[in-house]
């Protein structure tokens, strides 16, 4: 157990400067918007920047977490460690998921504060619903991107030539099949349930149905992609 925890801590520590920078940038931006924004401009909407920005940046960071091991030869130590190989992608994934959790929390908090200060008169939504929607969107897409990236990296380091090409092929190949299967899959999964959201926009009561199909489909795809990545690490990945 201790070795696994030690490796997890290393994965977390490795990019903490970037995490720190992103946290500080988010806090500074949010404070700035809270202090200088006004309800009649769109400026406060910039609060969405950290939220969407980190959603895009973190998958790249995860990819870098893998690639840097091979580029700096640290894979020689990593793969020689007396642990089952599947821990390698799993722990990197989990460490960056923690980053995502932290950045999600701060950016959504900032967003909530901005909403309360500037837009609560126009749109009224319960706090729970606000956070629920934010989390659902953020984490389903994060998990999907992370899983895709992990599979791409696992594929890349299962070969010695044409790594970039293979990574790209995995990306587009997955996208292709995912898009093709999405509609029927989501429709089928929607049967599992839905959540009804009520909010007021400019005084009018609106109900919005959030169907579980899409997030479930994303979770399933994520699990499959991660599973394949783990399989590759156990059977093909090498220095």
């Amino acid at each position: 157990m201790k070795p696994i925890v030690t490796l997890f801590k290393k994965e977390f520590k490795e990019h903490r400067l970037i995490l720190f920078f992103l946290v500080v940038a988010t806090v500074v931006l949010d404070l700035y918007l809270l202090l200088t924004g006004s309800s009649d401009s769109a400026k406060p909407l910039w609060v969405l920047a950290p939220y969407s920005g980190t959603l895009i940046i973190l998958p790249f960071l995860l990819a870098h977490a893998f690639t840097s091991e091979w580029k700096s030869d640290t894979a020689y130590v990593l793969l020689a460690l007396p642990i089952r190989p599947f821990w390698i992608p799993v722990l990197k994934f989990l460490a960056l998921l923690c980053y995502a959790g932290i950045l999600f929390g701060i950016s959504t908090l900032g967003g909530y504060l901005v909403y309360v200060r500037f837009y609560a008169n126009h749109v009224s939504i319960s706090t729970a619903d606000f956070w629920l929607l934010s989390a659902l969107f953020y984490f389903s897409w994060t998990l999907l991107f992370f899983s895709l990236v992990t599979l791409m990296e696992a594929a890349k380091f299962s070969v010695h030539r044409y790594r970039g090409l293979l990574g790209t092929a995995v990306f587009f190949g997955t996208l292709f099949f995912w898009v093709r299967l999405s509609d029927p899959a989501v429709r089928w999964l929607d049967r599992i349930g839905h959540y009804t959201l009520t909010l007021r926009i400019e005084g009018e009561l609106i109900t919005q149905t959030i169907r579980f199909g899409e997030p479930l489909w994303i979770a399933i795809t994520g699990a499959v992609l991660l599973g394949l990545a783990v399989l590759l690490f156990e059977t093909k990945v090498e220095v």
Partner: protein, 230 residues
């Protein structure tokens, strides 16, 4: 036989790095794997360390294929600098400690002292000689059963080489510990190697006990290396 390699082949795009390699290593002895750059030494070591997979053939260490349990008994010093450059020497030792049973933090510190390494300096900022010495500290901070040393002296300044060889000679637990050492600077380890394998283009061209070869051929391992390499 603590290491058994049978019919080992390894292919990389465009070339075969190892061709039908078969040999065994006896426990408690020092086996020299001698060969030019590109002869397949490093590939062999990577396979024995479990970080590269054979294309064909069998490798058994301690009688089994290479599993995490086996890896916990092997210390691997690759030819490259494999440690995280952002960690300090201290952080690196603390990081590796939980993975290897019997890791002795005090011993590690003593070796760091002997090797004159700055504990608080980042690994990435160390000189080439210091990096080479650090690898040896890592290898002997715990009682591994097998030590795989891939070119431990390559490209390293003479004072560092002396320190590394000094540590090697005093730390080697003869009879219990098995060392595989690869080098193309044969004269430096002439007196340390007991069994020897000469590799060329991925195959074994000569092997045997060092003293026996000396007796039979009246040549040093170094001279035999010159012969074999051409």
């Amino acid at each position: 036989m603590i290491i058994e390699v049978e019919g080992l082949w390894k292919r990389y795009p465009g070339t075969w790095a190892l061709r039908d390699l078969s040999f065994t290593a006896k426990k408690g002895r020092v086996l020299g794997i001698l060969g030019e750059n590109g002869s397949g030494k490093s590939t062999l070591f990577r396979i024995l360390a479990g970080i590269t997979r054979p294309t064909r053939g069998k490798v058994r260490i301690f009688g089994t294929p290479i599993t995490p349990t086996v890896k916990a008994r092997i210390a691997y010093l690759p030819e490259v600098q494999p440690y995280y450059p952002w960690m300090t020497v201290r952080e690196l030792l603390e990081f590796l400690a939980p993975f290897y049973p019997g890791w002795d933090p005090q011993k590690a510190l003593n070796l760091v002292d002997f090797m004159q390494l700055p504990l608080e300096k980042k690994v990435g900022d160390l000189s080439k000689g210091q990096k080479g010495r650090l690898k040896v500290v890592v290898a002997f901070s715990w009682p591994s059963e097998i030590v795989l040393m891939d070119e431990p002296l390559g490209g390293i300044d003479p004072p560092s080489r002396k320190r590394i060889l000094g540590a090697l000679f005093s730390e080697f637990r003869y009879g219990e510990q098995t060392i595989l050492i690869s080098t193309h600077l044969v004269s430096e380890v002439e007196e340390f190697i007991e069994d020897v394998i000469y590799l060329k283009d991925g195959s074994i061209v000569l092997s045997g006990h060092a003293d026996q070869l000396r007796e039979e051929r009246g040549k040093s391992l170094s001279e035999l290396f010159e012969e074999v390499a051409t």
